[in-house]
Each structure stands twice: as C-alpha cells, then as structure tokens.
Symmetry: C2
Subunit: 345 residues, 2 copies
C-alpha cells in the first residue's frame, strides 16, 4: 500500500498539510504567515494537521519566493580567538532569538582568490544580510566585494572600519588611553606598547589612544614593539624587544600579555615589582593568572548582539538607523601593575 502523502522520502510539504486538513495550500500558508486572516475553526484544523504530520516549512522554497533566507552570514578572519569567537556567539544568540540561522565563512588571507571564494560562498545563499567582523584588513577587503544590494554591517574596532559600512564598534582607542593613563598615574615615566601585527589596522585605535595619552602627559613616545597574535609569538617578541629599561608594558591583548610575562620571568624581571603589565580584553583566564592581570574589559558578546540588531533595523526598520554604535571599555585593575621601583607618583 502506498501512503498518499509520501513523495519518496521527502519531508511532508505544505500540500500534504492542505490535503489532510481539507483546505487549500493558500490557507495553510496563511496560517503560517498571517494567522489572523484565517477563521478560527480552519486555523485549528490546519495546526492539528501540521502537528500530526510534523510539518516544517521549507526555508529554501520561502527564500526562493522572497529572495531572502532567514539566515545571516558572518564573514570573519578567524573563529577561535577570544574576541572573534565571543562576538560570533553574541551574533548567534541574537539571531537565534529571531529564529534566524547564522552561517560562518572564514576569509583565509588577503589573497584575492581567498577573498573571492569567501564572497562567492556568502553570496551563494540568498542571505538576509551579512555581518563582517571587521577587526582586520582581510574582512574589509571581502566586505568591499559585496554588492550594494546585500545589506551588510560591520563589528569593528575604532580604527578598522575601512569598508565604511554601518557598524558597532569597541572604542579600543579609549581603552588604550585608560590603560596608559593608569600606568602613568602609577608613576611610570613612560609606557611601552607590544602591538600585534603592527602596523596593520588591527591595533590602530589602540596604538593611537596609547600614543595620544603619552603625548598629552608629556611623556616620551617610544617606538612600537611588534609581535604576532599568539602567546608564544608574544613571548618571543618580548624576549627580543623588551629592554631592561622598560618599566611599564601595555599589551595588544591578554594572550600577548601572558606571553610577555612568560618572557619577563625568563629574563628574571618580576611583575609588577620590576615591570607593570596591562592586557586587553579581560579573558576568563586573566583573573587566575599570576599575578592577576590588570586589563581592559571588552564586551564582545554585546558587540555581536548590537551589530546583529543594527543589521536587523537596517532591513526592517529603515528609518533612523544609527550608522555607528560605540561600546565603551573599562579598566580592570588587578595585580600586574604597581608603581615603578624607586618611587611612584
């Protein structure tokens, strides 16, 4: 015996529901999209049929009609590092609350072929919109390739909005200023800066805020000390570049700070007695690190949520969409900073 409703192994479709409920396909569609329009009696019958069949609307078909999927695409240079993964989590959470799916596409490098293939992948789906994690140049390049018809926003830092898209961003320039002023307030003559990927845009805001704070206080502005992203690279960079006259070190982020502290320890320099160290981000480990890390707290979850909301208001709202939302950082003073030896402020 053949079951009437079964078309091979396909999941039940709207036609199956209509047949079982004894109504037209149009009515089933209305129950799904604008229930008020359907009489209470029919609505109940349709809902019961949906339940009985375990029917779920096929989003691909919906997308074909509407030209838009219930899905936002995330374009990012990385998925695992703290700031990236936490921002993605914020986006995912906000999207889920709106019943939207999130797709992830990584842009591997600035190689045009990588840019191109990431953009192709994103555009292969009729997404509702795109959120770019514009923390560095790769994503800016990819965002620039998006057609203007595709709604797009960026989650970024102060100085990394090369795409010019509407954005939410961490005011990391302010964060750097807070960190630097904290160290100067402790009595350090000046502050050195270990910056990842300098001089790429990733740390522009931080570098600028740091240098501005030094200038305003009339402190000497030392050359930037370059490092890579991960703790081991930071360790190597610190071994190479952090001289013995450094008494205060402001680091690109917490992981870099931890790598640097490993190097300082190897050099026999104590933190904070000989050198004060400040991180950036306030990762979960910074408070169990020894000494507990003074750092700048960043709310990446909120960045993700805010950016998603921005995209959403661009698409549905239309009217007064803020073109930029700023998220403030906060200084968290712990054990890795102290006045310099031989007297502070």
């Amino acid at each position: 015996v053949r079951v009437a409703a079964s078309r091979k192994n396909r999941a039940p479709g709207i036609a199956d529901v209509a047949r079982l409920a004894g109504v037209s396909i149009t009515t089933v569609s209305r129950v799904l999209n604008d229930p008020e329009q359907v009489s209470e009696r029919r609505r109940a019958v349709v809902l019961a049929s949906i339940e009985q069949l375990g029917y779920r609307p096929n989003e691909a078909a919906r997308a074909l009609v509407s030209g838009r999927q219930k899905m936002v695409g995330v374009l990012t240079g990385n998925t695992t590092r703290y700031g990236f993964s936490t921002t993605i989590h914020g986006i995912e959470e906000a999207a889920r609350r709106r019943n939207m799916l999130v797709s992830i596409t990584v842009v591997e490098s600035e190689d045009p072929a990588h840019i191109r293939s990431a953009v192709d992948l994103v555009l292969s789906q009729p997404l509702t919109g795109v959120v770019g994690l514009e923390f560095d140049r790769v994503v800016s390049l990819a965002l620039a390739q998006l057609p203007p018809t595709m709604p797009a926003v960026a989650a970024s830092l102060t100085g990394t909005n090369a795409s010019g898209l509407p954005r939410a961003y961490i005011d990391d320039e302010l964060g750097a200023r807070l960190a630097t002023e904290h160290l100067l307030d402790l009595g350090h003559a000046t502050v050195h800066h270990l910056s990842a990927d300098y001089p790429t845009p990733s740390g522009h805001g931080r570098t600028y805020g740091y240098q501005q704070a030094l200038r305003e206080r009339g402190a000497r502005v030392p050359p930037i000390l370059p490092t890579g992203w991960n703790p081991l690279e930071a360790r190597r960079a610190a071994l190479e570049h952090v001289d013995d006259d450094v008494t205060a070190l402001f680091c690109f982020n917490d992981e870099v700070a931890m790598g640097a502290m490993s190097a300082l320890r190897e050099r026999g320099r104590r933190v904070p007695e000989d050198v004060s160290v400040v991180g950036f981000d306030d990762t979960p480990l910074s408070s169990v690190w020894h000494p507990a890390l003074t750092t700048v707290r960043i709310d990446f979850e909120a960045l993700g949520r805010t950016t998603f909301d921005l995209l959403r208001s661009m698409i549905v709202g239309g009217d007064d969409v803020a073109s930029a939302t700023e998220l403030p950082p906060a200084l968290v003073v712990r054990g890795s900073t102290a006045p310099p030896r031989g007297g502070g402020a």
Copy 2:
C-alpha cells in the same frame, strides 16, 4: 530606459545569462553542472556571459530542486570554549574546501523547549547534513530528535556518544590513562581528579580511564572532586575540595588546571614541588603558563575535519563508511609535574 535584464533589484539569474549568451536556460545550467556535455564554443560564450553579468547561481533554488542545500549544520552546546571553537573551525575549513557553507546552532540547555527550537532551526533549512558536537548531553538530546532521513554524524569523546550516530571521537579515556600513569610513574601514591560537571557524561571517558589506570597499578581510587567549566569555578572548587594530602592532581582540562593552580598558590602550595598538576587539551596558553603545564594534547581541528569527512562519505560514498574514527591524544610533559616531596619512584 529600462534595462532588459533587470528584474527590480534582484541579482542576475540564469535566464539573464541565457539571453545574453543566446542559448537556452538548460544549456547554461549544463555549463554549470556538467560542462563536458556542452560544446566548447557555446561553453565559452556562456562563461563569458556569466562573467560579464557577475552571475552567481541561487543556492536556494538549487536546494529546492535537489532537496539539499550546500550547507552543513553544526549543533553544539557552546561556541566559545577551546575544544568547541577549535572543532568548529576544523569543520568550517573542511566544508569550505568543498564549497559548502556551515551554519551554527547552539542548544542552550536540556530544557525541551530549547532542544526543540534548536532542532526546528536546523531543520528549517534543507541541509546536506548535520554535525553534532556531542561532548555533552544537550547535543545528544537534540541529535535524537533529528528525523532519520537527515544525514547526521557526531564529533565526540569516548563516553559521550549517547546518540549512537556514526562518529569521530577523541580517545580521552586513553588520554586520562596517560596522564594518570605519568603521575604514578613519578612516584605519587595516588592521583586525584578534578572533573567538570561530574557526573554528567562530558568527562566519563576521562574519569573511567583515570580510575582504570589507578586500579591497574593497585593505587587507591579517591572520590572525584567536582568543578564547573571555567577557571574561576575551578579555582573555587580547588579551594574547597583539594586537601593538603593531595600530591598529584589530574584536571578535566587546561583551564580547570589553571584555576586549580591559582587556588594551590593561594593555599601556599607550590607546583610542582608540593603538588603536581596535569591538564587536558594543550591550549595555546599552557606553554606560557608558569610553571608550564603538563597536559594531554588533543587535536580538535582534526576532529572537526574528520567528522566532516565522515558525513561526506555517508552522503556521497555510501559503501564502506567507518562508523567510528578514533583520534589519539598525546601526553606533553612540561614543568607542572615532578616526583612527590620526600622521594619519587
């Protein structure tokens, strides 16, 4: 003047390409899906038209016809913690190589409403298949709700495959055994275990391997010390549960180990002189931690890639699909372990 090809603001479609190239829609489709079938001359014309128009096939339409999107769904309990985010990265990388998109859906809790809504979200798209990060019970519950028609595989640990799906998994039971034996070999009378979420399934394999190793060596098997996932919880748990007679501590993962070491330090107990500590995972920070952390290296990237490959061979291959692939861990000895005070082996 109206441009012929423009249907409102829609992106160019296959019909636009066909018109420009002076061929049928069928021919354009063939150039895309089975180029051999089209004469070289026409193929060239079609490709030129595609290029000129910037045409990209609409995956939603393709999905509607084929019943399958070029997209795999990831079902996970978390997106930010080390093992999770690294595994997701492995999946994303493998998928991108196959020109497939990855969607992320988080199962918030074991609450049936959360399970249900995560499953609904996943099934709303005609995905090629689903990869569940079956590291704990939430995802097992969600995977169990998937209809049998949806191809699904799991990335898991030794003891967390409650779904019974084909899987790739970390042999964390072996990892725990290696860690425990290392500590016994150093001369410790026994080893204590700080386990996250004990006795949920997350750490079953680890707990079992650890206890087996103790039993085989005739060492006393102490009660499990429970902790939460993050470093601060681990710190609190260690302050509460790690007594002064503990000389060797095997921890659920590196972050738990770091939290525990913070607690030991506060208690005035030195690592490794007074207490040896072993972590699990080998996160990037474990080598810059002080003392550098002895741990068990896990290749979560490979886990992600392998699981994706498994899904793929289930879908395309069909024949001899391995129902389980095991990924071996490796002990990495660093500075946090040493013989006990008063003589080792």
